[in-house]
Symmetry: C2
Subunit: 645 residues, 2 copies
């Protein structure tokens, strides 16, 4: 695989990365050490210290509490990769020392089973997330090694992976199991790519191959351990919940827990790319297509219900009871990135962009201190706490959660965002995202630096400049976004206009690039009136506005209460207005619209239903803001979709 | 209170009563005796036999299993009151003998606590339904005595009530408690009215007065019994769930479990009428108004969510996740009847009619063998079993339930329907429902028989004939239904037209009635386009059709799949067509309508979202059927509300 270094320097994204560095990671450190009085205790660092023999005490927290430390270390690694920070690195080194001491002589590493249930290792894979925690620590070890060159954690996780390899397999003396929550599979692929040790590739492949095999492992282990549950029946018997209902190559629809599915798909794509396994790649494509053609919110959110945090069925996308977990969209981005590495496809990158610019950034408040776990598309806060179908949906971002998966996941994605901007294949640089920064790589046997500058989110303008010591021949492939019908380009001083890309959706500039040569791009950003597939009953007859990568929404703060009474006429005049109040460089959309209301004279006060009520439409101006900026101005209604009139 | 006898003989309702007699009650008998292989075991009769010492064995079933036997006996009583049936009566006598033998020497009667938890009587009122079961047996005892003149069960329940009276009260040696599920209160009022014993009035008043008092009884008993739960926390700590969050006189909004609320309100109205308690009556009115002005489905269903089978808040009426339990609408009818006894008010009777002709009869299939517990207003069956927010909603009626509250409740309401047709006050006969049958009572000191004939549901025609031996002076008050704007009447051969009633909504005919004198009524039955209050976001922009007492709905069987794609234009031409296929004497409505669809050429197959999609409207004929007849033609979509265009 082509290696490259990609750093972010972007007016929109650098601020998020700054927040991760200055707010999220420090806050998370305090949380992991139980120094945030208002947050639920974490105890995650203490668990490791106790397991390391450095502290007295008992395990506390979720069975997967270790993964919070791993995700923190991974985010730290990405930050260090981008910018040296000796104090942060020292802190991480100290944590790694403790983690290393907590590792058992045989390589095993998990504080829950070491402290709380010694002797019960690997007895409840369906529920107890041992391999999931292992996967996160492996990802941290790989990232930390890449960032710092320090091998300590990499060696720890390699030893752990070596030990895992001795435990699992189809040999009679091994466990033919696999984790309830996929993660180890993609982590082992990272470990393989970093160490080159094929054992890890084979182990990852084994876990994927084994999933869904008969007789069913979750039931076998459940019988064996005396039919006990850690969380409950669903984890063991609802096979689709963990995508263990079928062998992975036979799965063609997105079922069960959304995060698990996309983590699994990420590993499937990794393994398919490595092994050249056409059936596995075919399953990846089928699952990808099922998600993005039938089971994804317009915001790139996935998971239509709280029960099992799961997919439901094709075209079932309720906005108000949505789950659309931040972590699931992050996983969708992982999956997209792997698919793009296999084959460039602008449609795949479009989905990556949709998830990133909408659900993922919606997941964090503008100050980096509060988070959405669930990302609804419609909220009527007065109904929350009253109608309990909304219990999982918070109308305002929350502080740290007891099950703190989303904030550290956002942190590690944003801190490593450079990895998602480009893919390189066959002497071609594919620009998947228009995010400013610096790409360094070797092309045509020469060292090249590609500098991207972007005010894409504001005005659709992007420039690329090639830095090289000598003429270098390569193709710069530019994704033609699905929302764009025209790009004005200036290449080496010459104006060109593109209305579409090649079959795979990229505009290819194949040149002998001179030092300093520049490409200027201006993407037209029409306001799009988006509609849903006619099978999506929840949005039928409605429209959502999109401009550039952003899906827009209506908020009570701008439009008053009763958003469901608003209508956007087919002939509405829509205008883009710069508005820095929510965040610098953003635009809002003002649209001529209508508010439906019964005639005042009707006097509805004591009527719940009546006949021959006359309704009229008052002209009003609707103000749409980018979806990700919602819920930053106090409690209020929000809706992405608005009825068309 | 004025006594009267009212029997049903009606082309619409007699068939239901026949079903109760020939199908429901016999089936229920088999179920209570565990002779229905496909139904969950009941064991209810066995529980009594074991407690009576006539059988060996253990208690089985819900903690409130006894109430199924009580409700069966009550329904049997009403059937016997209307038509002699020696074999049925013998069966009931035998059951009563067993119940009597199961009564403990001190008067206590409950098989769960007698068999399964002896010594634990009255330790968990919040959850264990002892007084609820007592109430149902009291209702049965009263009804059986009235129907047959036999005192045995009446004596049993009187002894039980006497014993309860020694247990509960504010004296230091008594328990200052009250039941989690209201029912005893209204039952004691029936016992009081039948026996004249004021002890029962006082005990009922006591239970109402005590509810919501501090310190909180449910928490006290929970502490006392060692903090255990029978069902779970909600029953003990969610005070509003059992309407125990405030003293009843301070409650002004309908909160918590819908059935409990309306059963409580029924007793409150009974006690207010008896004691002339203005604050209690005022609370009844506030609660009634809150329900019917802000928290009731157009079908007369109540309870907007499955969690707690409960109310949510004002104007929150989701159609697809509705609870709208059949029993709750039956309880609403009880409450309405009591309010009408206090003061005639056509609006109250309108609600009674709405609940009866829509939700209640929807609760039972046309063959009397299957039942709805939950009555949704919108169903997309493909989403059921997939999106778990619909788990409580069944798209088809079910056989007997484990918690078999609804079928026997339908049976006892229909078998006693005569009691709801009229109220008598101040020498005035108020016709609350236009249901054919015979009313016998004394008026003006003379014996009168009023014969109603009705084809109301078919063509709006009703006639009354007075049978008397001598001229009798009284007022016949005729409810002007809220859906009717004109009644053509022929009174003693003379044509009169009414467009409204008096202030309370009744047309009063005050005459010296001759024997054989007749009143013919022809209610105009326009097709009404009903709209919901603008605060009900779930139905905003939609209409429902109503004609006469029936709310109509669209079904897939008539209109194809994708009901959400249909539109009813403001100028739609609607036509009433007789259609006996669902049930004799019914009408369907054919309306010119539209089906929205994207243009064929767009090719949506691989798009989930797209911009600039053009939609067109195809003309189509929409067929609406009475709501209660839905789900009798196989699995399919259903919707009461349709988008207006």
């Amino acid at each position: 695989m082509q290696q490259f270094k990609s750093k972010i320097q972007d007016p929109f994204w650098s601020e998020y990365i700054r927040l991760v560095r200055e707010v999220v990671v420090p806050y998370q450190w305090e949380a992991l050490n139980d120094r945030i009085p208002e947050a639920e205790p974490s105890h995650a660092i203490s668990n490791f210290k106790i397991a390391a023999g450095e502290e007295q005490g008992e395990f506390y927290g979720m069975v997967f509490q270790d993964s919070d430390v791993a995700k923190w270390l991974e985010a730290v690694a990405y930050l260090l990769e981008n910018k040296s920070d000796p104090m942060l690195e020292q802190l991480a080194d100290e944590v790694i020392d403790i983690v290393a001491k907590a590792q058992q002589p045989d390589g095993y590493l998990n504080t829950y089973f070491t402290l709380k249930e010694p002797g019960k290792r690997w007895t409840n894979l369906a529920e107890c997330h041992e391999l999931y925690c292992a996967g996160h620590m492996i990802e941290a070890g790989v990232a930390y090694y890449k960032a710092t060159g320090k091998r300590k954690l990499l060696d720890v996780v390699s030893r752990f992976a070596d030990y895992i390899d001795t435990v699992f397999g189809n040999e009679p003396d091994k466990l033919s199991g696999y984790d309830g929550h996929q993660e180890i599979e993609l982590a082992l692929m990272k470990l393989y790519h970093t160490t080159g040790n094929e054992k890890y590739l084979n182990l990852s492949t084994y876990f994927l191959d084994q999933r869904g095999a008969e007789p069913h492992f979750y039931e076998q282990e459940w019988e064996k351990r005396g039919k006990t549950y850690h969380f409950g029946e669903m984890n063991v018997f609802d096979r689709a919940y963990s995508q263990a209902h079928l062998p992975v190559r036979d799965q063609d629809s997105a079922e069960g827990h959304a995060v698990r599915l996309v983590y699994m798909c990420t590993a499937m794509a990794d393994v398919a790319a490595e092994n050249g396994d056409p059936r596995l790649l075919d399953a990846c494509k089928k699952l990808w297509n099922n998600i993005v053609h039938k089971r994804m919110y317009i915001t790139g959110g996935i998971g239509s219900m709280v029960h099992g945090e799961a997919f439901t069925m094709d075209y079932d996308l309720p906005g108000d009871t949505a789950y659309a977990e931040t972590c699931a969209s992050i996983g969708l981005i992982f999956f997209a990135q792997r698919m793009l590495k296999i084959a460039p496809d602008s449609g795949v990158a479009d989905v990556m962009e949709r998830a990133l610019y909408n659900t993922v950034v919606s997941g964090m408040s503008q100050d980096g201190k509060k988070f959405f776990y669930v990302n609804p598309l419609e909220v009527y806060p007065t109904a929350h706490g009253k109608n309990r179908i909304y219990d999982h949906v918070k109308p305002e971002r929350q502080g740290w959660f007891g099950c703190a998966c989303c904030p550290p996941n956002i942190a590690r994605l944003l801190a490593s965002l450079g990895e998602y901007v480009y893919t390189i294949k066959d002497n071609t640089v594919y620009t998947q995202l228009y995010i400013g920064g610096e790409l360094k790589l070797d092309l045509d046997g020469k060292s090249v630096q590609l500098e991207q500058e972007s005010t894409y989110v504001t005005d659709g303008k992007v420039s690329f400049r090639v830095h090289t010591d000598e003429v270098v021949s390569f193709t710069l492939a530019l994704r033609m976004p699905d929302w764009c019908d025209r790009v004005e380009a200036v290449i080496d001083g010459e104006k060109v206009e593109f209305t579409h890309g090649d079959e795979d959706g990229y505009i290819r500039l194949n040149r002998d690039w001179q030092a300093g040569e520049q490409v200027l791009l201006h993407f037209s950003m029409p306001i799009l009136r988006m509609k849903g597939h006619p099978g999506v009953r929840q949005v039928f007859g409605k429209v959502a506005l999109q401009r550039g990568p952003f899906v827009y929404c209506l908020e009570e703060a701008d439009n008053g209460t009763g958003l469901y009474q608003l209508r956007l006429p087919v002939q509405s005049h829509c205008e883009v207005i710069p508005d820095d109040s929510l965040r610098e460089g953003l635009n809002v959309i003002l649209a001529t619209g209508e508010r439906c209301a019964p005639n005042q004279a009707e006097g509805w006060s004591n009527h719940l239903y009546r006949s021959d009520s006359q309704w009229h439409k008052e002209n009003t101006t609707l103000k749409f803001i980018p979806y990700f900026t919602w819920a930053n101005r106090g409690l209020g209604e929000m809706s992405v979709w608005v009825e068309e009139s």
